[in-house]
């Protein structure tokens, strides 16, 4: 019952998102056609608008769009005349998802280990090192980190290719660039909640009972400390697997991240809506799974009073 209800709510949320996005994108000025080398004479512009149904009233355009959407057709891209939005997403999702998942794995593994070690070595050098990494990770954002990585690892030391796509080696630098900031956040969350958990009575009790330090942390601490990390990675997962504009641009990744930004600057309406819907679907499903996973992490958590 809970799941059926959530599914219905998901559809409702998606509909609200589509509608609001539709309204906002038509409320802002600009058309998809004029570019930076010339403006289009009015008569020519009318022909173009007619071809993409933009001359029709907004209500009609909206209805047409929803109708196509029900058949999972996201429409044509106005900017690249010969490609439709479904194709754009299908082509680009692979590379984006590979980078996203790879970077999430790096961030999770490294972040959780670093945070746990820091908590166990509270106020000792390892703790300070983890704080240092966290500070650097967040105060050097990917748009600064990525060119630095390229300059040293690719150009100076020839360890990895500069950019582009193809082999596994090509995915390393962008994954690292993407991973650093969430890694820092995860490490800090982990450390903080681990410290708290370590102070809890049941941990002290477990220690008093003679369980070793490592067993204590893993059995009790880690599990309880995961809640904020889980809350944090939900939206992060949705955004990294659908591609990141900055990192994909710097590393020339053929993903879909760029369409989220370019489509808006180009006023490529079907692409704006298509990418938004694609992202939202992944987001709402992820957040649903996150809500469920709270229970896995801590079985006492109840999300719905129906279960009482």
């Amino acid at each position: 019952m809970y799941i059926v209800k959530r599914l219905f709510l998901m559809l409702l949320t998606l509909w609200i998102i589509v509608t609001l996005t539709f309204i906002i994108m038509h409320a802002i000025p600009g058309d998809p056609f004029s570019n930076d080398s010339k403006t289009i004479p009015p008569a020519v512009l009318e022909n173009m608008r007619a071809r993409y149904n933009l001359d029709k009233p907004y209500a009609v355009q909206y209805a047409l769009y929803l109708k196509n959407l029900l058949m999972l057709d996201l429409g044509p891209s106005i900017q690249s005349k010969t490609t439709d939005v479904n194709t754009l997403i299908a082509r680009g999702f692979g590379p984006s998802a590979i980078l996203g998942i790879q970077s999430l794995v790096i961030a999770l593994v490294a972040g959780i280990s670093l945070g746990t070690v820091a908590a166990l070595r509270h106020n000792r050098p390892l703790d300070y090192i983890s704080m240092f990494i966290a500070i650097l990770g967040v105060s050097i954002p990917s748009f600064i980190l990525a060119p630095l990585l390229i300059k040293y690892l690719a150009v100076k030391w020839h360890l990895l290719p500069v950019a582009s796509w193809g082999t596994w080696k090509h995915t390393l630098l962008p994954s690292i660039a993407l991973a650093v900031s969430p890694l820092a956040v995860i490490a800090r969350f982990m450390r903080t909640s681990m410290l708290e958990v370590l102070h809890q009575d049941y941990i002290r009790m477990a220690k008093a009972k003679g369980l070793s330090g490592r067993a204590v942390t893993i059995r009790h601490g880690l599990r309880n400390a995961l809640i904020p990390v889980v809350s944090f990675i939900g939206p992060l997962f949705a955004s990294v697997i659908t591609g990141t504009f900055v990192v994909e641009k710097i590393f020339a990744i053929p993903g879909i991240g760029k369409y989220f930004v370019d489509s808006i600057f180009n006023r490529d309406y079907p692409v704006i809506l298509g990418t938004t819907i694609f992202y939202s679907v992944i987001l709402v499903v992820t957040l649903f799974l996150i809500d469920i996973s709270y229970r896995l992490v801590d079985p006492r958590i109840k999300l719905s009073s129906k279960g009482e």
Binding site: T39, T82, T83, S164, F265
Partner: protein
Amino acid sequence: MKKKIQGLSVLLLLILVVLAGCSGGANTAATGEPASTKTNTAAEAAPEEAPADVEQVITTNLAGGEPYTLDPAFASDTTSYFVIGNLYEGLYTYDKAGKIVEGAASKVDVSEDGATYTFTIRDNAKWSNGEPVTAKDFEYSWKRVLNPETAAYDPSSLYYIKGAEEYNTGKGKAEDVGITAKDDQTLVVQLKSPLGFFPTIAVGTPYLPVQQSVVEGDEKWAAEASTIVGNGPYVAKDWKHNEEISLTKNDQYWDKDAITMATINFKMVQDATTYYQMYKTGDLDMILSLPVDTLDQEKSSPEFLSHPSFSVYTYSFNVEEKPFTNKKIRQAIAYAIDREVLATNVTKGGETPAYGYVPYGITAPSGKDFRDEAPEKYYEFNPDKAKELLAEGLKEEGLTSLPPVTFKYNTSDKHKKVAEAIQELLKTNLGIEVRLENQEWKTYIDTFKQKNFQAARMGWEGNFLDPLGVLAHYTSANSNNFTNWKNADYDKLIETSTYELDPAKRFEELHQAEAILMDELPIIPIQFSADTALISPKIKGIVFDTRSNPDLRFAVRTEQ
């Protein structure tokens, strides 16, 4: 109404002289000749023979990323043009020296009155699928661009043809358009009025041919390498979307022996920092548009090349918005902006200070560059004169000092830097407080259309290589003129110079028009833009001229 003037019988020597270059293949239209063509070899345009053991391949970059389309009817950006220019060939094309010569046409006859062009298509012109290129292909392609249902990007470039505008705007019929394939070899084009520089226009992207059976056979024919059929020197071999597109020499191309570069790989790296680093590691043989911060260190490199492009960077005034309603105040601003310092110390990419509106690159009938022919250098930096004019202007307006003014620019690192420098120059030289505002392009254009600005940055690229290509932007009816400035004399000069057949007289009118524009000053030309490039020493013979993209056809790789 006279419909078809048969120009075949009236080919006179006089016309040949006037419209030099429209027949024979060796010459070019008077206005189409590029004043400065550079190849990246030291001095000579024709480089050495390609070494037999070196694979002729060049890897370069599309800084715009994935070309939006490879269908010439819809292409709207220089990235798409770069690839399209190698896949298709119009009736005219460019030769090794950057001159406009016959392409798919072997012969062009121009009627006595200069209004009818008769093109003879080459016997050996073929599509990349082996089928012959015919006059009907051109008729189909051009009418396709004009068809309102096609909604092509730039049909207005064809409006010089009789009946074209009417058809495109729904007021006329396709049959009445002056484009007729008399037979497979003969294409007759009737212009609205005689037009001396028609070749300069007809060499443009909207005039490129596509094959009817291909276009009608597959709606998405231009989206994949395997379905694209062209008649140009190259064919698309492999297109990895958003990654790379590879072109190889078209073995059906009629002039394939003249093409030295066998393979062109275009990578699609949009980030300037990244493609610069890829050049440094040798992943790329040539890059265009260097990151601004690298210009200082690259300027002296033998691999560096800077070439003027046919575009001008300006600030436009809204002449109906106070205080720029006052001509003297506008002129004062122009005198107070030190364009020399902007070019050498701010933008640094080899731009030229603009002391006039028409960029360098057009050879006048006198043999000199249009720019050098101009009666004066307009608004050279003169802070004293600026103060004087400002004082006079303020007096006329009944003001004691100028209230703060707002300059707008569209979001970009470069524009921001120029705007900040101008802000400071006006503060230092005139004591004016300038506020800056920026908007992303589409909002900006809208702000512009609504005339919601005092002064704003704008830069139009010339639509074609002729003073008209830029001057026409400021006639009262032009869709690119947002300044509210209207001048009947100017409009008239532009109108007459469009259809004037005597080049010398025509250029005189164009100079007069520019003089009016500069005196009235609805826009301040800041600088003539330049394209920068880095080219590997292993590659010789790339042709750079005022076209937006370099010509790679005749390049040679000398080392692996």
